[in-house]
């Protein structure tokens, strides 16, 4: 499954990079969301998938899946959420101030 997930994550990365190169604020913001999904899945995948029960000791399993990446991903998810919220508001304010969501028009002048 790790092989499959690596490929899936690669695909998500491709889509993300493609979206990063688009012209609308919204697409770029969407790209950041997808990107965070991709890396979180990657972190889980790289430690091996489905090799035991959920890491709660009361389940009394023989083996548990690696809990550390889960904890790390949890932290990362929260951070990604915070960043997304900030980014959303920032792009919203950008639109309000510049009256455009077109990154082509948000280039700024050449001499800057």
């Amino acid at each position: 499954m790790e092989l499959l997930m690596s490929i899936v994550i690669g695909i998500v990365f491709s889509v993300t990079i493609y979206l990063f190169m688009s012209k609308d604020l919204l697409r770029v913001v969407a790209a950041t969301l997808l990107l965070s999904h991709a890396v979180h899945l990657l972190l889980l995948t790289m430690s091996g998938l489905q090799r035991g029960a959920a890491p709660v000791l009361s389940f009394d399993a023989e083996a548990y899946t690696d809990p550390l990446p889960q904890a790390l991903v949890l932290t990362a998810i929260v951070i990604a959420f915070a960043v997304t919220a900030l980014l959303l508001v920032m792009s919203y304010r950008t639109y309000k101030v510049h009256k455009t969501d077109d990154l082509e028009e948000l280039r700024g002048s050449a001499d800057e």
Binding site: F81, T84, D101
Partner: protein
């Protein structure tokens, strides 16, 4: 710290005091305070003459940065003493002159004297240090001080231009010199000149010898205004005249000469050293003297004449370096050139100093330096005229002035070259004296021109802005008179200097040539006899020079004479513009302001470098992966996931876009469940929900998505880059994963599983990790959330226009 160290540093200390003296003792011209220092120093350095003339050298050590091999070791021998005397002696005269030249009411004297003292200290440092890096340090300080002095009248465009030009060119030279010094260090493991000279054979044998030499010479040539780096010197004439007299003729420009002389012991004897310096010197000599003829500005003439004279000294040092090639033979043949170099160095300082001061007086009294406006000043300013006449005659090489003596010796030195019998000189060495002779003709010509245009002819007050032109005040005349007297005295009694100053300097330039206790024969005579070719060459110079002067009217209107500006200035100006324009172009194409371009550049870089690494190391090297099985339902979930992700770039409806994005988020939550991560699934679910709410709130206001019309070419680029990037991530992950399985390290997680209950009192390992094992992460993660909120709130509430604060 010895007295010598204090002597070098004393100008800097004085410089710190100047602003206070200027501020609190306004009634006395600050220059009077300044004058004390060079006088005292001059006398102090005079006291070294007995020791150096007996061949002794004084070395006082002081550690500065010993771990980098940088030590402030002061070294006094004949050569450094000669320069120290020049710096302090001319320095004293220049300060005295400046007291009358610069008005204490109109000028910012504090700035002027601070710069001047900084320069004096730095210059002393250059000539008195034994350590190359310390020399470099002081070297750059002289560049900075010189630029500041050039820009002294900082509101003038030309001053700024000149200051920058001199700074860039000399600092450029300084940096290459530093590179050369570093190479020397790499070769010999020391920055000490004495040790380098002692290890000259190691240096000579190294493959880095030539690069080191060229780099060091670049430094010397830029500083000493050698062709084609001389272009900064004429523009440096924007500085107040005392500065021109001091820095740009007597001292700073001779730092390059000093360096070449000093390092002759290291590099001398190599044919490259001989040729580069000789040719550079001769070309500079000729170019300078021809260009000087074209100048209309008194200081312009003097600037080019300085360039030309520096070239003369340089060429002498070059030819003299052959002495190292014949260490055992009769050295008189080669040492004549060195003798001439040292002697001319002194002479040039005297006559050029007096000439600059005279030019300054003319400028000061008439308000112009343009020789087309001047004329007939002989009767109005008789003393100035006499000073100029002495100086110019000496420069032109006429007897009985000191310039005549050193010029003769110069010709002898150049003639000797044909007899060297090395470097194929016997065949085409004859060109060298011919070039020298031609240059001397032009030197003679511009000397006559300068004198006749300024002092002879008719006085026309209508061309001048100043009403009553009269002779300068006596104070201003003292310094040039002293220098003119010296010109005469050294001319009549050259042997005053011969054994006290010149011979020790020669011995310092050419270490190891003499056996201990031996001295060079430096008896200087006026008369070499009728058969001496030098005499006939001088006569030829005078004759041809006079002819050219007589016919001057004929070629006065030629393009050659009217074009005042040196060709190489255009190179500098185009280079300057080209640098700015080129860098603007470079910056424009990369800093486009387009996020897309940034990603194209960044991702291309990442893909290339990762792909190269993978290629280089044959990655991913997958042997046998231990993969967990993929149940059917996972295939299904993943198919939906990929579908929801891939569709996103094609969506042109913002609501649909948001929905598709959040669907993918929810599927990730589902995947977390499948991967047995309940906490993650729960968190992801909640966060996705809140995110959707946020999305909806915010994008309620955003405009509809436009249909994207991407040009096919761009689309292809985007596709290639994004697919390439995805591939890199996949391949990289596989390599890392397979290496992980190969390495088979046990994860630190095992510790958590074992200890979660007993040591941390919790069953949910993930939560225990979060709040206990890695509690710090969580604490900071919460901080991140808080920060995001603070930012969001400030973003909504603060709406500046851009001029509220700085």
């Amino acid at each position: 710290m010895t007295l010598l160290h204090w002597a070098v540093l004393s100008p800097f200390i004085a410089a710190i005091l100047i602003p206070f003296l200027y501020k609190y003792l306004k009634r006395i011209h600050t220059g009077w305070f300044v004058l004390i220092l060079p006088l005292v120093l001059f006398i102090y350095f005079l006291s070294f003459i007995p020791r150096t003339s007996s061949g002794e050298a004084i070395l006082n050590n002081l550690d500065w940065v010993p771990s980098l091999g940088i030590n402030f070791n002061v070294y006094v021998d004949g050569l450094s003493l000669l320069f120290a005397l020049l710096i302090t002696g001319i320095g004293a005269l220049v300060v005295l002159y400046s007291i009358y030249y610069l008005s204490k009411r109109k000028e910012k004297l504090n700035n002027f004297y601070v710069y001047l003292l900084m320069f004096m200290g730095a210059m002393l440092g250059v000539v008195l240090s034994d350590n190359l890096i310390v020399i470099y340090v002081f070297w750059e300080v002289t560049s900075i001080a010189s630029s500041l002095l050039i820009s002294y009248w900082y509101t003038r465009e030309k001053s700024i231009y000149g200051a920058q030009k001199s700074m860039y060119i000399t600092v450029f030279g300084g940096l290459s010199m530093l590179a050369g010094f570093s190479l020397l260090y790499v070769i010999a493991g020391t920055f000490s000149i004495r040790e380098l000279i002692a290890n000259a054979d190691i240096v000579m044998a190294s493959g880095l010898f030539i690069p080191a030499m060229i780099l060091v010479l670049l430094g010397a040539f830029t500083k000493s205004a050698q062709f084609p780096f001389h272009i900064w010197l004429p523009d440096a004439m924007e500085a107040p005249t005392p500065v021109s007299a001091y820095l740009h003729s007597a001292t700073m420009v001779k730092a390059g000469i000093y360096l070449v002389a000093r390092l002759t012991g290291v590099f001398g004897g190599a044919p490259e050293w001989f040729w580069i310096i000789t040719i550079a010197g001769l070309v500079t000599l000729t170019w300078g003297s021809i260009s000087a003829v074209r100048q209309k500005d008194l200081k312009g003439i003097l600037a080019f004449s300085t360039i030309s004279q520096l070239g003369l000294i340089m060429s002498l040092l070059g030819t003299g370096s052959a002495a190292f090639y014949f260490q055992d033979g009769d050295n008189a043949l080669y040492m004549t050139a060195i003798l001439a170099a040292v002697f001319h160095l002194v002479n040039h300082a005297t006559f050029k100093g007096s000439l600059f001061m005279a030019a300054g007086i003319v400028d000061h009294e008439t308000g112009t330096r343009d020789i087309r406006k001047l004329g007939g000043l002989m009767t109005i300013m008789p003393i100035t005229a006499t000073i100029s006449l002495i100086g110019l005659a000496s420069m032109a090489g006429l007897p009985p002035f000191n310039g005549f003596l050193s010029k003769e010796m110069f010709l002898t030195g150049m003639l000797n070259v044909t007899e060297y019998g090395i470097f194929h000189l016997e065949t085409f060495g004859f060109i060298i004296p011919i070039i020298a002779w031609i240059a001397s003709v032009f030197t003679f010509l511009y000397c006559i021109l300068m004198f006749s245009k300024t002092f002879m002819g008719k006085f026309d007050s209508s061309k001048l802005k100043v009403q009553h032109v009269h002779e300068a005040p006596i104070g201003m005349l003292i310094s040039p008179i002293i220098l003119a007297v010296l010109v005469v005295v050294f001319g009549l009694f050259p042997n005053l200097l011969a054994y006290s100053i010149i011979e020790p300097a020669m011995a310092a330039i050419a270490p190891g040539i003499l056996s201990p206790g031996e001295f060079f024969d430096v008896h200087i005579t006026h008369w070499h006899g009728f058969l001496a070719p030098e005499l006939w060459m001088t006569i030829g110079v005078v004759v041809l020079g006079v002819i050219l002067f007589m016919t001057f009217k004929k070629w006065e209107n030629t393009a050659f004479y009217r074009g005042e500006r040196d060709l190489f200035n255009y190179a500098y100006d185009y280079g300057y513009d080209g640098l700015v324009k080129g860098s603007q172009w470079l910056t424009r194409i990369q800093m486009t302001g387009r996020l897309r371009d940034y990603f194209i550049y960044m991702c291309t870089f990442i893909i290339l470098i990762m792909a190269y690494t993978m290629y280089r190391y044959n990655l991913p090297a997958i042997q046998s992966l231990d993969l967990s099985p993929v149940p059917i339902y996972v295939w299904f979930v993943i198919a939906v996931f990929i579908g929801s992700v891939i569709v996103i770039p094609f969506i042109n409806n913002r609501v649909a876009l948001i929905i598709a994005t959040s669907v993918s988020g929810f599927i990730v939550a589902l995947l977390f469940v499948l991967f047995r991560a309940p906490d993650l699934a729960l968190t992801q679910l909640l966060i996705e929900t809140v995110s959707v709410i946020l999305f909806m709130l915010v994008f309620y206001h955003l405009p509809k998505l436009k249909k994207v019309k991407t040009p096919p070419k761009l689309k292809a680029v985007k596709l290639i880059i994004s697919i390439g990037f995805g591939l890199i991530i996949t391949l990289g992950s596989l390599s890392a994963f397979s290496l992980g399985q190969e390495a088979n390290y046990s994860s630190i997680s095992e510790y958590y599983t074992e200890n979660a209950k007993e040591e941390a009192g919790g069953y949910n390992i993930v939560n225990v990790i979060l709040v206990d094992f890695r509690g710090l992460d969580t604490m900071l993660e919460v901080l991140v959330v808080a920060l995001a909120v603070l930012t969001v709130v400030s973003l909504i509430r603060l709406r500046f226009k851009g001029s509220e604060d700085v």
